[in-house]
């Protein structure tokens, strides 16, 4: 089945400040959405509202035509969210972190698959080190390795390219591109313009028509 994500009349406030209102868009399967806007325009809030971490003041997020709030776990199962935080435990090793975060996501993956995912992110040889000793970029790669093993169709990524080097940025782009090509959906915020040649690309700019 082809999934769709639809946002209707969404408005969000943060500390009495209206960030955006009357936001409407629809994202079909196999497409990518860039959320653009200046600092403080509400990009992160929008992403958090989409995945249910933030309750919007008004409006709805519909998944295949049904209210995502009512769907509950059935919707959360379809989404993977990667925020500003890497969501890593610094005292655990890369492979342990990956194992635990996938277990929370409800994804079953064997040891081999985990090692492979980490190796593909350029972390071969670093799997058994506590994440504490890795560099910022390496930590980000451990967090991103989750994307390789998840089966959730909707990826919501907040500034996924921060701290990554040029090669890793390229690699992540190709991962996102192949996900979108296979009928997945991705929503990302990024300050840097990233050329993606695949799928259908949409953009929304926050902070202009408030």
């Amino acid at each position: 089945m082809d999934n769709t994500l639809e946002v209707r009349q969404l408005c969000c406030e943060r500390g009495d400040k209206r960030l955006f209102s009357d936001l409407n868009f629809s994202l079909p399967a196999g497409s990518l959405l860039y959320v653009e806007g200046a600092n403080g325009s509400g990009k992160t809030t929008l992403l958090r509202a989409l995945c249910g971490l933030f309750t919007p003041e008004c409006g709805q997020v519909l998944w295949n035509g049904e209210d995502s709030h009512k769907l509950g776990d059935a919707f959360r199962d379809q989404v993977i969210y990667l925020g500003h935080h890497n969501s890593l435990k610094l005292d655990l090793t890369g492979i342990e972190n990956l194992h635990f975060s996938l277990a929370v996501d409800g994804v079953k993956a064997g040891e081999e698959a985990l090692l492979e995912a980490l190796a593909s992110m350029g972390l071969a040889g670093y799997e058994d080190l506590p994440v504490r000793v890795l560099s910022q970029g390496q930590k980000r790669r451990v967090a991103l390795a989750r994307l390789l093993l998840t089966e959730s169709p909707l990826w919501i990524l907040d500034e996924p390219f921060t701290a990554l080097d040029v090669k890793a940025v390229d690699h992540l782009q190709s991962i996102i591109a192949s996900h979108v090509n296979q009928g997945g959906m991705a929503i990302l915020t990024t300050h840097q313009e990233v050329a993606l040649t695949s799928g259908q690309i949409q953009r929304i700019r926050l902070g202009e028509h408030v």
């Binding site: 059935a74 959360r76 500003h84 935080h85 435990k89 005292d91 655990l92 342990e96 929370v104 409800g106």
Partner: protein, 223 residues
């Protein structure tokens, strides 16, 4: 459902093993608080016996609370809590797993060390047995109720103080009946069973409502 429960327990125990100081601080706090009373009051046998139930329970309350602040704080700071909130799993189950780990790392060590405290306070052996049993029933209640407070004060400045103001009054029933059980066991012809039944009732009530209330509080305070 069970797999995520055990995964979280395993993760938190593993984390605690990597940072053993956190676990040991709580235990040593308990031992030191309990040991201070004989030093301050004097080693008179009957006085110590008389105050032992209250002292043990108050020390257990404080020790359990000491670790409560960290229950969700670390997960909140590094973003893993966010992932748990949007996981396709029941948040109450995840919370229950975290509470169980909190009890394993703070409550259980106290239960195990309690007989030693009994010696220090000249408690008769029946009273030591009762004390261990009462702590076994009562300390999980402390962890369960405390989790609600920890979730409500998550991310607040000075949350630690607020947490104690919020939670300590709620600990009173456990303190009263927990200490009552030990005191009763030292009296002739005083039945201990009613105290255990009440503590058991608290535990069941807390088991039913606390994970759910904590999950709701987490959703509110993480926005």
């Amino acid at each position: 459902m069970f797999s995520v429960f055990f995964t979280i327990v395993r993760r938190d125990v593993l984390l605690a093993m990597r940072r053993r100081t956190d676990v040991l601080t709580t235990l040593f706090f308990f031992i030191i608080v309990v040991s201070l009373f004989p030093l301050g009051i004097g080693a008179e046998k009957n006085t110590l016996r008389h105050i032992a139930p209250g002292v043990v329970w108050i020390a257990a309350l404080l020790a359990s609370m000491l670790a409560l602040e960290r229950l969700f704080e670390n997960d909140y700071a590094d973003g893993t809590l966010e992932q748990m909130l949007i996981a396709p799993q029941s948040l109450s189950v995840i919370v229950a797993a975290k509470v169980l780990t909190h009890w394993l790392l703070t409550g259980l060590p106290i239960v195990l060390i309690a007989p030693l405290v009994g010696l220090q306070y000249y408690l008769p052996s029946e009273a030591v047995v009762t004390m261990t049993q009462a702590l076994m029933l009562g300390t999980p209640v402390l962890s369960l109720i405390g989790a609600i407070g920890a979730a409500l004060t998550l991310g607040l400045r000075g949350g630690g103080i607020l947490l104690s103001l919020l939670i300590l009054p709620l600990y009173i029933p456990v303190l009263v009946y927990g200490a009552g059980a030990i005191a009763a066991s030292m009296m002739a012809k005083a039945p201990v069973q009613p105290y255990f039944m009440l503590l058991g009732a608290f535990l069941i009530l807390a088991l039913i409502f606390a994970p759910w209330a904590t999950a709701a509080a987490l959703r509110i305070s993480s926005e």
